[in-house]
């Protein structure tokens, strides 16, 4: 009996989350007339990928009718380096903070964690000034830099807590065997970090890919990420609203994070629950 109730509750919750996705998905496959005719939950009568093609290649993003494809690429060009750098720096930070104690390391860690707590809005203006001074304002590199700066406290925290569970003697053994700071990291510590690398990468990727605020503030019309472009596409007021194109564009923008979760969800869970490594 409880089992039935349990499944019913879970199914209900799943539906709650899936219904909007269903509406978006079906709408993106319908011609505009079908949408106008109403029937929010009906399946498309004549399914077509025309809206997807338009969203991808020719829909108007603001005044430029070039589709999302360029911005989609921008997002990759932004997210990949930002994820790679912030995860790499976080891993090395966490390793240095836990395995190479030095005077002030505790304070440094405290200062880094404060970085996790500062709301984005607070740093917008100082960050803009900094980027302008560096000559990176309005460029993708500038956006990458901001995401790295904002990602490092989180990744450092993740890796530090993970490395606390790695027994110190393993590292000491490596040092005695002749490994220095980086050799010990790459040969011994990093191979033990795969679950945490997965978790940190997934968290960073979704966070950075989905970011809108930094994207809209720090990039120009050419260098905007797909989230900003989606906003401009959906907000374009020329003529009638093309709901099917908007829906297709939303799905295009959301697809990479969805795929990441589908492919690596199991890794993600395993990493989150990863416990102590036995020496």
């Amino acid at each position: 009996m409880t089992r039935v109730a349990l499944y019913a509750a879970l199914l209900g919750a799943a539906l709650l989350f899936l219904i909007p996705l269903y509406v978006v998905g079906t709408a993106s496959l319908k011609p505009l007339e079908e949408i106008r005719a109403g029937g929010l939950f009906s399946l498309p009568v004549a399914p077509t990928f025309a809206a997807w093609a338009k969203a991808w290649g020719s829909a108007c993003v603001g005044a430029n009718c070039v589709g999302l494809k360029g911005y989609f690429l921008n997002s990759w060009l932004m997210a990949l380096p930002a994820v790679a750098i912030s995860v790499a720096v976080g891993a090395i930070n966490g390793y240095a903070l836990t395995k190479w104690w030095f005077r002030g390391s505790e304070f440094l860690f405290g200062a880094l964690v404060v970085g996790c707590l500062i709301p984005f809005q607070v740093i917008l203006i100082p960050a803009a000034r900094t980027l302008a001074t560096l000559g990176l304002f309005g460029s993708l590199s500038g956006l990458v830099l901001i995401h790295v700066a904002y990602g490092v406290p989180v990744t450092t925290l993740l890796f530090r807590n993970f490395y606390l569970t790695v027994p110190d003697p393993i590292l000491q053994a490596a040092r005695l065997d002749g490994a220095g700071f980086f050799a010990a990291f790459f040969h011994v510590i990093l191979p033990l970090s795969l679950p945490m690398l997965a978790v940190a990468s997934i968290l960073q990727f979704t966070g950075i890919w989905n970011d809108f605020l930094f994207g809209v503030v720090f990039t120009g019309p050419e260098s905007a990420p797909v989230t900003v472009a989606l906003n401009n596409l959906a907000g374009a007021t020329l003529g009638a609203k093309e709901w099917n194109v908007n829906m297709a564009a939303a799905l295009i923008a959301a697809l990479p994070t969805l795929v990441v979760y589908f492919v690596s969800g199991r890794w993600f869970l395993r990493g989150l629950t990863a416990g102590a490594i036995k020496a």
């Binding site: 003697p169 490596a174 065997d177 490994a179 220095g180 040969h187 011994v188 020496a279």
Partner: protein, 361 residues
């Protein structure tokens, strides 16, 4: 080949505790030296300073004539075996063994040959392709030994390597370690809190307490002539008994509180004492085997008898002072009865009540 010299070594931790203080010791080439003491005595810190994992805050460490304090652990030509084995979990046994060689640029063929050799010697050949997780504790410790041996280091450091093993395995690996030391003849520094390991394996034992060296000597010296009360009580099971007493007669007798007849000392020991201390309070140390039950002029009450098979431990009350004695298991001793006891005068130890130092030298 290397001697290890500790020269007024000192370690202060940032929180203000002094882990090791004024520790000087010359460890001979090829010696098996054990650092023995209770937890927190500074023995592991000392070992870690020799390894280079801790930086001394004072003094110097030399291997031969070479000062090593400023060298990184990997440059000291040492190897260490950890209590927790500290094998690399993601590497196979073979990769674990070969890693130190790899870090020192030994070519692949040579690495394979040496790993095979060691695997044969340590009887871990069939395990070479397994990962540490798939091995038992004893097997893991053998691999850890192998990883330490493979580079042919000058000095071996062993940090309680047997503590995580069960009793049978511990005895077996203890014997293997002794044989290993005899065969390779390298300088070994061994840390343990287990006096039994220290007694059975060591060339010499250095007893530490609260960061200070208490005594260094062969197992026999440490057992027969403990330098102070701490060493006397720490080495030996059951521990040495301590009774209050005073020097009596002309310095040739010891009056033990609660015992009517003073114990006469052999002439050579009496002579040493007479100069040192006329009529004074002392702490009398007696090992359980030096209190004889069922014979002698003194008497005591039996509180408890613990039969161990080959012998029995007898808990006695001597005039209000509790002691433990060893007796033959063939004697019929019963609790609450009175028994005659005697002391082996030649083997009693005298300590200063205030400083705890041994009185006769």
């Amino acid at each position: 080949m290397a001697t290890v010299t500790l020269d007024h070594l000192r370690k202060d931790f940032p929180d203000g505790t002094v882990a090791v203080e004024d520790f000087s010791l010359l460890i001979e080439d090829g010696e098996f030296l054990t650092l023995l003491g209770p937890s927190g005595c500074g023995k592991t810190t000392t070992l870690r300073m020799i390894a280079g994992l801790e930086t001394p805050t004072g003094g110097a460490i030399r291997f031969g004539d070479r000062r090593v304090d400023d060298l990184a652990p990997g440059q000291r030509n040492i190897a260490m075996v950890f209590q927790s084995y500290a094998l690399y979990p993601h590497m196979t046994v073979r990769q674990n063994l070969e890693y130190p060689l790899k870090k020192h640029g030994v070519p692949r063929e040579e690495r394979r040959r040496r790993a095979d050799e060691l695997a044969l010697m340590l009887q871990i050949g069939p395990l070479l392709d397994r990962r540490p997780k798939q091995l038992s504790g004893g097997q893991q410790q053998r691999v850890a030994l192998g990883r330490a041996l493979i580079r042919d280091p000058e000095v071996f450091l062993l940090d309680e390597p047997l503590s995580n093993l069960d009793a049978t395995l511990r005895a077996q690996l203890r014997a293997e370690l002794i044989q290993l030391h005899q065969r390779i003849g390298k300088t070994m520094v061994y840390v343990t809190h287990d006096q039994f390991e220290a007694m059975t394996m060591s060339t010499r034992i250095a007893v530490l307490h609260q960061g200070r060296l208490q005594q260094v000597g062969t197992p026999d010296e440490v057992y027969r002539r403990p330098a102070n009360r701490f060493v006397a009580s720490f080495v030996g099971t059951p521990a040495m008994n301590f009774l209050t007493g005073e020097i009596a007669g002309e310095g040739d007798r010891i009056a033990i509180a609660g015992v009517t007849t003073p114990v006469s000392l052999p002439p050579e020991r009496a002579a040493a004492l007479r100069e040192l201390s006329p009529a004074r309070d002392v702490i009398v140390g007696l090992r359980p085997e030096d209190i004889l039950v069922g014979t002698g002029e003194a008497s005591a009450t039996i509180k408890l008898v613990e039969p161990l098979g080959h012998e029995a431990l007898v808990y006695l009350d001597i005039g209000g002072q509790s002691v433990i004695s060893r007796a033959s298991s063939e004697m019929s001793l019963r609790a609450k009865e009175s028994t005659a006891i005697d002391f082996r005068a030649a083997r009693l130890h005298l300590f200063d009540p205030a400083s705890g130092r041994r009185l006769d030298c």
